[in-house]
């Protein structure tokens, strides 16, 4: 069988040689028509003439998208992959959550805040060639809201209730005028018209594909759908007839690469040229890499530890203040998050309007913590349970951060025992009414949806929003805060609303509901050749104004 003298060591060397001799894999480096033009500055709004057209952006996503029907989306990966396919009725301005015209050119709000009249853009066509008009818009909204709509069963609409819950009726006034009537005045509603459930899908395509619209998306956006191979890639190509003007790049491909380390290796090896979620340990190295560009933007995110305020000792304001002093939040941000988050002093992220940091702060001070605990009647501290998820959307490094907090609390005599849970189980056990709450303390985070302060302060801290009504998990209750938040959400004047929210932020800081730790920074890394990319606070990637320059 084997010739005498064949050495196993020799065979191993041979195998190694064969492997090394394998021809190099074709790395899909973005092809570009540019002819070696000079580097342009990031501020330029368009590529130098004759360069920067064409090329492919390959995005390494964290996980597989679950749907490309914008109205069915409930996760970031789907949102990012589907974003370029659609236009919403209104649009969030670049790098901001203020709204500007989208498929609606202009809008009017009645004085009582109940009727929104939208003038729609004429001459816009869906990718399947059908016309966008008021009937199409009405179809899209009613498909989500009305359980008797003939196409309601073509999907599940996780955000319908949130986005359209206050809508009473949707009417077509004429071909290009849509009237939306609300049940009660609701100031943040205008922003909802720019959210992903307000992205308009072709009614003809919904009729054609039924439930399979989820993987055969048709919109009006800057990119058209080409293919979706589950687990492999979602391919979009440019829409040359886009009403705002055709994008510069030919294709955008989204690849799910689950492992953070593998995604990074893919970027460095050139298998992708754009990635999300950089592991904190690698951030500094990537920033130093001359071939890569790291883009950061503070997101609408807050990370905190909540208490069960329905029972002692957490019903005591002094105890919650003491805990806030006891935790070295700056150390967590510096040593664990390493620049992937910024210190938070307020439940509201700084990117959301009305944010103020002119409020009471809780800088690290174990001495103050001990004093306050003694005043509150707990000179020797107490023991409690502390729930931590193993991982989870927006949870950053839940276990490491939880352990750091546990150690800080131990130093002032509070002995908490960490219990970890899988994310699905965790959500099930923390979003519960007071009578079912088994926790003392738990970690949570929130990513804003519509850019309105109401989306953070009211939903998370109003006394009317205890689960199951809302997401005031931990059962914070402050009557003065409640009154301000209620007034602010029904007031239309933004200056007045800003005043009310700032007042509420001050009161909340004096009576802290949580240990407020950080706001996560959105970070993406891309090949240096990708120009003019801007992150948006709501999370999706806008590639319509991006070009590639070799």
């Amino acid at each position: 069988m084997f010739k005498r003298g064949t050495s196993l060591v020799g065979v191993l060397v041979l195998i190694a040689l064969i492997l090394v001799a394998c021809s190099p894999a074709a790395t899909p480096a973005p092809a570009s028509d540019s002819s070696g033009s000079e580097a342009t500055t990031e501020a330029e709004a368009a590529p130098a003439s004759g360069s920067g057209e064409g090329g492919t952006i390959i995005v390494g996503l964290q996980a597989e998208p679950t749907t490309l029907d914008s109205q069915q989306i409930s996760d970031y990966n789907s949102h990012r992959a589907a974003y370029g396919l659609y236009d919403a009725l209104l649009r969030f301005k670049d790098e901001s959550t203020a709204v500007e015209p989208g498929l609606a050119e202009s809008w009017e709000i009645s004085d009582d805040g109940l009727v929104y009249t939208l003038k729609l853009r004429q001459g816009v066509k869906f990718h399947d060639g059908t016309d966008f008009n008021a009937e199409a818009a009405k179809f899209n909204l009613e498909r989500q809201i009305d359980v008797n709509h003939p196409f309601h069963d073509t999907g599940e609409f996780p955000y319908a209730e949130f986005t359209w819950g206050t809508v009473d009726k949707v009417e077509v006034v004429d071909d290009y005028t849509l009237k939306i009537t609300l049940k009660e005045p609701f100031a943040p509603f205008l922003n909802h018209l720019a959210m992903h459930p307000a992205a308009i899908v072709s009614p003809a395509a919904i009729e054609k594909y039924g439930r399979d619209i989820s993987n055969n998306p048709v919109g009006t956006g800057p990119f058209k759908f080409v293919s979706w191979t589950p687990g492999v890639e979602v391919v979009l190509e440019k829409n040359p007839d886009y009403w705002r003007g055709a994008p510069h790049v030919d294709k955008v491909i989204y690849r799910p690469i689950i492992e953070d380390q593998s995604r990074l290796t893919e970027l460095e090896a050139g298998g992708v040229n754009f990635i999300v979620n950089i592991p904190p340990d690698d951030l500094a190295r990537l920033k130093d890499d001359p071939n890569l560009n790291v883009v950061e933007q503070p997101g609408m995110h807050t990370w905190w530890v909540a208490f069960n305020q329905a029972k002692a000792p957490f019903d005591n304001t002094q105890v919650r203040q003491a805990i806030n002093y006891a935790v070295n939040k700056q150390a967590i941000v510096d040593n664990l998050l390493q620049g992937t988050g910024t210190l938070a002093v307020n439940p509201l992220p700084p990117v959301v309007w009305s944010y103020t940091d002119d409020i009471q702060r809780y800088d690290y001070s174990p001495e103050k913590a001990k004093e306050l605990l003694a005043e509150a009647g707990y000179p020797d501290g107490f023991s409690c349970s502390f729930w931590v998820p193993e991982s989870g959307s927006g949870m950053q490094q839940p276990v490491a951060m939880g352990t750091a907090i546990q150690a800080d609390l131990k130093a002032v005599g509070i002995d908490c025992e960490i219990q970890t849970f899988e994310w699905g189980t965790y959500l099930d056990k923390v979003i519960v009414p007071p009578e079912d709450a088994e926790y003392d303390m738990f970690e949570m985070s929130w990513i804003g949806d519509n850019g309105d302060p109401d989306n953070h302060l009211y939903i998370l801290l109003s006394g009317e929003q205890w689960p199951p009504q809302g997401y005031n998990m931990g059962f914070y209750k402050n009557d003065e805060v409640d009154a301000l938040l209620q007034e602010a959400r029904t007031t239309l004047d933004q200056a007045k609303r800003t005043e009310l929210y700032q007042e509420a932020q001050k009161l909340i800081a004096q009576d802290p509901p949580w240990i407020i730790v950080d706001h996560e920074t959105q970070i993406v890394a891309m090949d240096k050749s990708i120009k003019n990319f801007k992150l948006h606070p709501t999370g999706p990637f806008r590639f319509e104004n991006v070009w590639i320059e070799e």
Partner: protein, 316 residues
Amino acid sequence: MTRYVTQRVISLIPVLIGVTLLVFLVMQLAPGDPAQIMLGPKATESSLAQLRHELGLDQPIYVQYGRWLTRVVQGDWGRSIQLKREVLPFILERFRNSAYLMVLAVLLACSAGIPAGIISAIRQYSLDDRVAMILVLVGFSIPIFWLGIMLQIIFGLKLGILPVSGMQSPGQTGMLDLLKHLILPAVALATGATAIIARMTRSSMLEVVRQDYIRTARAKGLTERTTTGRHALKNALIPVITIVGLQVGYLLGGDILIEIVFSYPGIGLAMVNGILARDFPLVQGAILLVASSYVLINLAVDITYAYIDPRIHYEQ
């Protein structure tokens, strides 16, 4: 023989029903609500209730199980809650992808492990034997995900000769492209199995070459090559085949880790995502498929004995 195979196939049915029942109960008893996970923390109570109703989750468990099993038998494996598409075509495609990986890994493991074991055995205590046995120890002890990441960094990044992850390069569908993507995950997956197969082959060979009939063969003046190749190897391989069959089960476990590290769109990754999303129809379907294939592979192993070992007869 036919009768034996038929009996074995029929006996698979209760095994598979047992598997589905177990999976169904485990998934249902695990805390976490698919509707809640799907709609996220921002869902309202009424939309949750409606979704649970649409998904049939508001029915008693036995009703859900009965309905599911009836439909599975009829070929309707349901719709994935998370991916919003038909389960059966989806998991079949994912299973095919994993099969590529597993077949290549098994081939690599056998073609490296069996020769290594033979050489070690016939040259016991030589340098080759010692090097091989040290490599076996290393191969068996290396954590598979770490090995995967190292292979990515060495061959994908530093040498740049093989793709880092995925199954195909964007826009490519060719066999060569697929093969390039398969090499690193298959090597990582095969390492542990190679080690076990090499060890098993070695000890089995060592036992056989000490048998009287081998001494007789040598005494008859047969060449060393005929003696080891024809007489010893055939008998030594029987336990090795059992091990290879069992390895397929272990490979399925390692396959899940490897598919995560390499973002390889196989059945393992589909199951992990499905479990995290409490996607009952997907997970149940995938486990049923995987369990059936495992049972069938074991059946195939049993049948292979008959051809290799003349002492085994299945006729009664």
